[in-house]
């Protein structure tokens, strides 16, 4: 363009450029949303019962970051299946469970009950991912030729089969190879309803930066780093556990970045182009000679491996799990779907934003509302039943009903979640960023030949 005539034009152009820089720049967009959530959570902590306590603020910010990272991670993994390839997998929880239980079988010490193989953490993580990928392939082989809605039913049924089997007393503890004399017996177990302890877990290496005995921080001393960091934190009023959780959250954030990188890499390649084509119209891809089954199986395996890893980072880090927790239920899969749909299926940045908005506004935020309302309005003891609350309505005393509602906000979150899903499907099925074009090549296609090269 030529030099603009008016100064105003120049200003506007600079302004436009700045706006695109911010909103067309994905890391900045994510940062802006996170900043917004942090401001909101800080404000909510300030007006809540803990008031201006710095420790409480830090603790709440770390919690929302933690959940954001987990949901972002899972939404990204699901985005590979659904967003990129159009594979409607609603068995995410099942693949997470496979990852976690395979991880447990590999890492739990042989002396524990239920026992495991006592292998190192890295082996457990790799094994958990491989196991999830393996189960994914087993599912994919027959199921991938099914219609999307049938695939949905198959995967959700599979995740329930997995979860129920893990709760079965028959698998609580079992011995393999007992009738093969030349192979040593191996005893494993899911722990069934009793659950399973995982002393080796992803939080340990993080804690070992701070503590000399990471398995039991209270027992041992602090490392040099631990002394410095924990000392500083304590003087600022931040609790010790918050610090180690914060450190773990940093690891999660790093993994989110890794997932993101991997997905962009997969997407911006000839491989990703075929995935996109499968999502759009599989028959066209076939007609161009692409063996879409191979692509689908590969991408299913990769996505399931990521889900397995997500499961390990999510559930195993607690050091204990049992298969009846929400993490392994279909409901968990739906949460992850909500996160992805909010952000916009197909968009990686959208997946991360969706994770943040889901974790912050839908999942954690409402719980603050309860605390804040209870703190600010003196509503008295909430009625313990709906009838008790509704009785007040007739006598035009709204306080009781309000107190009951606020007290049950944790359940009402799900109602809200459902409404959001319905709204998005009716009004904005592409979510925040799903309408955006994501590149499907490793080079800039718009660069016409004959020109300069593209780097």
């Amino acid at each position: 363009m030529s030099d603009g005539p008016g100064a105003l034009d120049g200003v506007r152009r600079r302004w436009d450029a700045a706006a695109t820089r911010v909103f067309g720049n994905d890391p900045l967009l994510v940062a802006a949303v996170m900043l917004g959530i942090y401001v909101l959570f800080t404000a909510m902590t300030l007006v809540g019962p803990s008031g201006g306590d710095l420790g409480a603020i830090v603790s709440n910010l770390q919690a929302v970051t933690f959940w954001t990272a987990l949901y972002a991670m899972m939404a990204l993994a699901l985005n590979l299946h659904w967003g990129y390839t159009g594979l409607f997998n609603i068995g995410v929880a099942g693949f997470m469970a496979v990852g976690v239980y395979a991880f447990a079988a590999l890492t739990v010490p042989p002396s524990a009950s239920p026992p495991g193989l006592g292998l190192p953490l890295v082996v457990g993580i790799a094994g958990g991912m491989l196991a999830a990928a393996f189960v994914g392939v087993l599912t994919a082989l027959p199921a991938l030729r099914l219609r999307a809605d049938y695939l949905a039913i198959v995967t959700v049924a599979l995740s329930e089969i997995i979860r129920r089997s893990l709760l079965s007393p028959e698998l609580e503890e079992f011995t393999l190879f007992s009738n093969l004399g030349f192979v040593p017996d191996v005893t494993l177990g899911s722990g069934a309803g009793r659950g399973i302890n995982m002393p080796t877990n992803p939080s340990i290496p993080v804690k070992s930066v701070l503590y000399t005995d990471p398995g039991n921080p209270a027992a041992g001393g602090r490392t040099v780093v631990g002394k410095a960091v924990l000392g500083a934190a304590e003087s600022a009023g931040v609790r010790e556990t918050v610090v180690s959780q914060f450190a773990y959250t940093l690891v999660l954030v790093a993994v989110v970045v890794l997932f993101y990188w991997l997905l962009v890499r997969v997407g911006n390649s000839p491989f990703g182009r075929v995935l996109k084509a499968i999502r759009e119209d599989e028959l066209v891809a076939n007609s161009l000679g692409k063996d879409t089954r191979v692509f689908k199986i590969k991408v299913f395996a990769l996505g399931c491996a990521l889900m397995g890893l997500g499961g390990i980072l999510w559930e195993a880090q607690r050091g204990f799990t049992d298969a009846s927790v929400t993490t392994f239920r279909p409901l968990q899969t739906f949460y992850i779907f909500v996160a992805l749909i909010i952000g916009g299926a197909g968009s990686n940045t959208g997946s991360v934003l969706g994770g943040a908005l889901f974790a912050g506004l839908l999942f954690q935020g409402p719980l603050f509302v309860r605390r804040i309302v209870a703190h600010l309005l003196n509503l008295g003891d909430p009625p313990s039943t709906f009838v008790g609350a509704a009785a007040g309505l007739f006598s035009l005393e709204l306080g009781g009903f309000l107190a009951y509602t606020v007290n049950n906000i944790s359940e009402l979150r799900f109602v809200f979640l459902g409404l959001v899903l319905i709204y998005l499907m009716q009004r904005r099925p592409t979510g925040l960023l799903g309408h955006r074009k994501e590149a499907a090549a490793s080079v800039d296609l718009m660069e016409r030949p004959g020109g300069e090269s593209d780097e």
Binding site: A143, I153, E160, R164, F386, N408, E411, F414, M425, Q426
Partner: protein
């Protein structure tokens, strides 16, 4: 009733589909081997005839409940072309609406209603509310309450399904199956957690202790009694005088003495009412043009519209029938279990899907038969595998059907 005709007429698939016949054959032969107590190549020990009869009865009870619920899911799946994940919560809604009403009627009947309307409606979840034991609702004890409850369960669910269709699904008629499926998950969450908001998260007892009818062998004859003690006394040779005891005029079974199966009044109620509702539906579809219109709409919506079939009216009829039966099934299943919690329908949903898929999506009779087959699968599975895998086995059966025969065992013929 015509259900049996339908069943008989539908053995044909076995002949046409060797794989299915093979599975059925292997299962049948193995049950025979296990009954005979001889060695069998498949896992699981010998099987007593009493256990088999009990398992079959349990399977039938579960299966009829699931099948009844499945009719609506099957109809909406084929006519509106999406898998409705809210269907399980329609089932739950029916159970809560119906039982709330049954409690009110029972409370009124026993003079405990004063000051207890709210508590009864809340199914005991209110301060000083009556409990299940106070009201002692049962099929034979308070039949009026049970029947009124059933009607309200159906009507209440119809109202809900129509309201949901109006606000959620109707504006999305042209959206694809997947957006509708996702929206239905949203609907499911809204309904389920509104129920929690009102009724709380814990489950409660609903009915009083059940009367039971026990079938047993007494020295080679088959007798009906209402208590185990009577049966034991009769088997010991003392024919009871003041207790219920009827001998059936069947062949002499030598010295056979055992309890065969116990049928609770609630199970009996479920079976009779479910079969009755299925029969009523059958008659309705035969006598009216509705069945034909539904078939046409399921086959091709656009064509149906062009040929003058009012598709929106068919859709509404579908919701009315499907929703009503879903609500009724929830109510009856809760009757049979004697307890009710907010997860009732959600936990049944996959079994309902299994029934629908087994019977062939779009087929009403298929859903009924599929329900019974899934009930049998789940209950008979324990002959071969530990009971903790029984539900998994039913899901696995569904997956196998979806993968190998997605048109269901009847081969995609829409029967209605």
């Amino acid at each position: 009733m015509s259900g049996t005709e339908t069943l008989a007429g539908r053995v044909a698939p076995l002949r046409e589909h060797p794989r299915l016949a093979l599975v059925a054959g292997v299962v049948g032969i193995d049950v025979g081997l296990k009954l005979a107590g001889v060695w069998s190549p498949l896992p699981g020990g010998p099987l007593g005839v009493e256990r088999l009869v009990t398992l079959l009865w349990n399977g039938l009870v579960i299966g009829l409940g699931v099948g009844l619920a499945g009719i609506g899911l099957s109809m909406t799946y084929s006519i509106l072309r999406f898998a409705n994940f809210a269907h399980g919560d329609y089932v739950t809604t029916g159970a809560f609406a119906g039982w709330a009403c049954a409690w009110v009627v029972a409370a009124a009947g026993s003079g405990q209603l004063a000051g207890n309307v709210g508590g009864s409606l809340a199914l005991g979840r209110a301060p000083d509310a009556p409990s299940a034991a106070d009201l002692s609702v049962s099929v034979f004890g308070s039949p009026l309450a049970v029947v009124v409850g059933l009607v309200v369960a159906a009507v209440g669910t119809v109202v809900l399904t129509l309201a949901v269709d109006r606000t959620v699904f109707k504006p999305m008629r042209d959206a694809g199956g997947i957006p509708l499926l996702i929206a239905s998950i949203g609907v499911a969450l809204v309904i389920r957690y509104l129920i929690v908001f009102v009724y709380g998260g814990s489950s409660r007892g609903l009915t009083a202790e059940q009367t039971r009818l026990i079938v047993g062998g007494v020295d080679g004859r088959i007798a009906l009694v209402t208590s185990r003690r009577t049966l034991r006394e009769a088997q010991d040779g003392a024919v009871p005088v003041d207790a219920f005891y009827v001998e059936l005029p069947v062949v002499d079974l030598g010295s056979y003495s055992a309890e065969v199966v116990a049928v609770s009044s609630a199970e009996f109620g479920l079976v009779v009412l479910a079969l009755g509702l299925m029969y009523a539906l059958h008659v309705t579809l035969q006598r009216t043009k509705l069945g034909t219109a539904m078939r046409a709409t399921a086959d091709n919506k656009d064509l149906a519209r062009v040929t003058g079939i009012p598709t929106e009216r068919v859709v509404r009829a579908t919701w009315v029938i499907g929703g009503g039966l879903a609500g009724a099934s929830g109510y009856l299943i809760a009757l049979e279990r004697g307890t009710l919690g907010f997860q009732l329908g959600w936990l049944l949903l996959l079994l309902i899907f299994a029934a629908v898929i087994l019977g062939g999506i779009g087929s009403i009779y298929g859903a009924m038969v599929g329900g019974v087959l899934i009930g049998f699968t789940q209950s008979l599975a324990v002959v071969w595998i530990p009971s903790s895998f029984a539900t998994a086995a039913a899901f696995a059966a569904m997956i196998l059907v979806l993968v190998f025969r997605p048109e269901g065992i009847y081969g995609g013929v829409s029967t209605a």
